[in-house]
Amino acid sequence: MKKFDKERMLLAVAAPLLAIVSAFLLTALVLAATGKAPFEAFGVMFEYGVKSDSQVYILNKATTYYLAGLAVAIGFRMNLFNIGVDGQYRLGAFFGAAAGGAMGLPGLVQIPLIILVAMLVGAMWASIAGLLKVYRGVSEVISTIMLNSLAGILISYLLVDGRLGVLDKQTNIVATKALPESSHFFTIPAGGDLDPIWGFIVVAVLAGVGFWFLLGRTRFGFDLRAVGRSESAAEASGVNVKRMVLSSMLLSGAMAGLIGMPTVLNDTHQFTADFPVGVGFTGIAIALLGRNSPVGIALAALLWGFLERGANRLEFEGYDKEIVGVMQGVIVLCVVIAYELVRRYGLKRQQQKVGAELAAQAKAAKSDKQEVPA
């Protein structure tokens, strides 16, 4: 039995490795096709990516991406495709920032309050899709995509001078009122004149631990995964599927509300019209790459941050900056394909093994039988 586990381990490592190696090879082909030396590009990326200020950048970026990956993974674990993480995240960040700008409480009270507002707004926005699915059978894929657009429109309606926004006439920037100094989240100094590491990374790690505990160690998590595997089987064994759909949607939305918090609390301290778009979609790629496991998602988020850091440098060195976009796309595709291949291979191995064992048993039984009359 123990040997079998070792093989499973090997297979588990083989899939992402296979994916990344083949993604690099494919990207090298693309680079070669554009007339650039492929391995030099990787060299540039790697050399730049391990520098100390790049490390800070990658950690900060990965903090956001990790939370995005978790938010998507909660849905994925139960076979729900919450494409709306992006809208939930933006709306949560927006209202969190707006609430934070309007209040003047001590940081110890205000920071949790801002986070709470963001999570609640994210959860509420996701709950619309959840309710539609449970009571009207509307596919969450469709409804969340539409809710993304609606979130964008709602924000641009409210983010206007005189509503929840403040216009700076000189810079042409409309933003929510800046958070008071006391509501800035703590940072971890990285030494030298480097930018500090966002303190929110601690919250992200805690969220990861919470994710692991909730899904792997509680009845709720078991029910959630059971529904993900087979709705009808879960229903038959007494799980209230409707309630599970709704609560996992809420959970996913609440986690999505957290995504914008490192940026708001640690970086911009306000919500501007050019607040990053598309992080929720990046989260989908990261959850896929990380296979919905908290550790896998962390590695995927770091890889993503590394690639984006490298992209900035590649552009500077005269490469097409789109190449990293291609690389990211190829990695996700390769991951999906590699996991399927490895899964099939594993299944085949298992069947062979079981077949061999059965054959051995049958043979043994036969020889037993032959021995009896003798």
């Binding site: 730049y48 391990v50 520098k51 100390s52 200020d53 790049s54 490390q55 800070v56 950048y57 990658i58 950690l59 900060n60 970026k61 964008g152 429109i153 924000i155 641009s156 983010l159 001078d161 216009l167 006439k169 000189q170 810079t171 042409n172 920037i173 409309v174 971890i188 990285a190 030494g191 030298g192 004149d193 480097l194 930018d195 590491i197 990374i201 790690v205 631990v209 692991w212 792997g216 940026t263 970086d267 911009t268 019209a273 050019d274 990053p276 778009v277 598309g278 992080v279 990046t282 908290p294 550790v295 962390a298 590695l299 984006e308 850091r309 900035n312 440098r313 552009e315 500077f316 900056k321």
Partner: protein, 344 residues
């Protein structure tokens, strides 16, 4: 057993995080001198037939005139301030001087970079960064757009005029506000239809297909003059108007009559509201590279300074030139105060 191994993995991951958090290794910073101009475009970059291209024109001219080198970088969708800062810092770090951010979205990152690289001269287009080593190149878009509104008011036959903005940002509302005022002052009967390509996102500057769809919608509602302040999306609107007889488009930023990419539609480009980003960028580079006296503070390019103007290319509005020039004089003399924002 399984439980233990998971905890081990989690522990290892935390350790790895902590290890990289100590930020070992050298920093990416290394310096050298005078490589020329560092230009950072906003989303869309060179080739948008509009705002960024206008900056590119000033950059190209300066490079040639002063025989200096340069490097161009472009912001992409979803870039955070950290990404934008990284681009500006790379330019300054590698010895590019001056460094120019094209577009107000560079405001926070450029402010941060200018504080760190005190010996580099920075400029920002369309925004204000109040630092000693930064020149803020701002234009009076509303004044130029007022004149475009005057022209539209005189040229429309259906009394229906359209405005397409790339996004509903306060900058684009300056265009819309001036245009609306000029139109109403000239032709009170004219109705203005205002639409945004993409609400709340700068993506709206790079969607020519959406620009075309919106223009088609306006045209089928009898709109016969369309002014688009929408970057690359405006090209779609110009294409749509060119396909319907008797309708006009108004270009923006550069003189789009001479835009090679739009040459086949130029017979319907009535005029362009020219915003001389190329001029302000060129002036700034000149002040650094040639005069060795870098511009600093707010450099306001208004109607008076010739920072905004209406083009007469093609001769389509030559007949109404006296009226436009009269309006222009009134603005310069302060007799007309042009609103710098749009209200529904």
């Amino acid at each position: 057993m399984r439980r233990v191994s998971r905890i081990v993995v989690a522990g290892l991951a935390t350790a790895a995080l902590a290890f990289s958090a100590t930020a070992c290794g050298s920093s990416s910073e290394s310096g050298s001198k005078d490589k020329g101009i560092g230009l950072a475009y906003d989303v869309g970059g060179r080739g948008d037939h509009s705002f960024n291209d206008s900056a590119a024109k000033g950059y190209d001219k300066a490079k040639k005139d002063f025989k200096i080198g340069g490097k161009e970088l472009t912001a992409k969708d979803g870039d955070t301030d950290a990404d934008r800062y990284d681009k500006l810092a790379s330019l300054a770090e590698e010895g590019y001087n001056p460094v120019i951010g094209v577009g107000y979205a560079w405001t926070p990152s450029l402010s941060k970079a200018a504080k760190k690289y005190k010996d580099t001269d920075f400029a920002i287009v369309d925004s204000v960064v109040d630092l000693k080593n930064v020149a803020s190149l701002v234009s009076a878009e509303h004044e130029g757009s007022y004149l475009a509104g005057v022209a539209a008011g005189l040229k429309t036959k259906t009394n229906k005029v359209g405005f397409i903005g790339g996004t509903d940002s306060s900058l684009i509302k300056k265009f819309a506000g001036g245009f609306q005022q000029g139109l109403k002052d000239t032709n009170p009967k004219a109705a203005l239809n205002v639409q945004w390509v993409q609400v709340g996102s700068a993506k709206g500057f790079g969607m020519p297909d959406r620009g075309k769809d919106i223009a088609d919608g306006m045209l089928s509602n009898k709109v016969d003059v369309i002014f688009s302040a929408a970057g690359g999306s405006g090209a779609g609107a110009i294409e749509a108007t060119a396909k319907k007889k008797g309708t006009w488009s108004i270009g923006v930023d550069g003189d789009q009559y001479y835009d090679k990419g739009l040459a086949q539609y130029k017979h319907t480009i009535m005029t362009s509201m020219i915003k001389t980003v190329d001029g302000s960028v060129y002036d700034f580079i000149k002040s650094v590279a040639k005069d060795k006296k870098p511009e600093s503070g707010i450099q306001s390019y208004d109607l008076k300074r010739g920072g905004v103007s209406l083009s007469y290319s093609g001769g389509f509005i030559d007949d109404i030139k006296p009226k436009i020039e009269a309006a222009k004089k009134k603005i310069i003399d302060g007799k007309i105060k042009v609103a710098d924002t749009y209200k529904d």
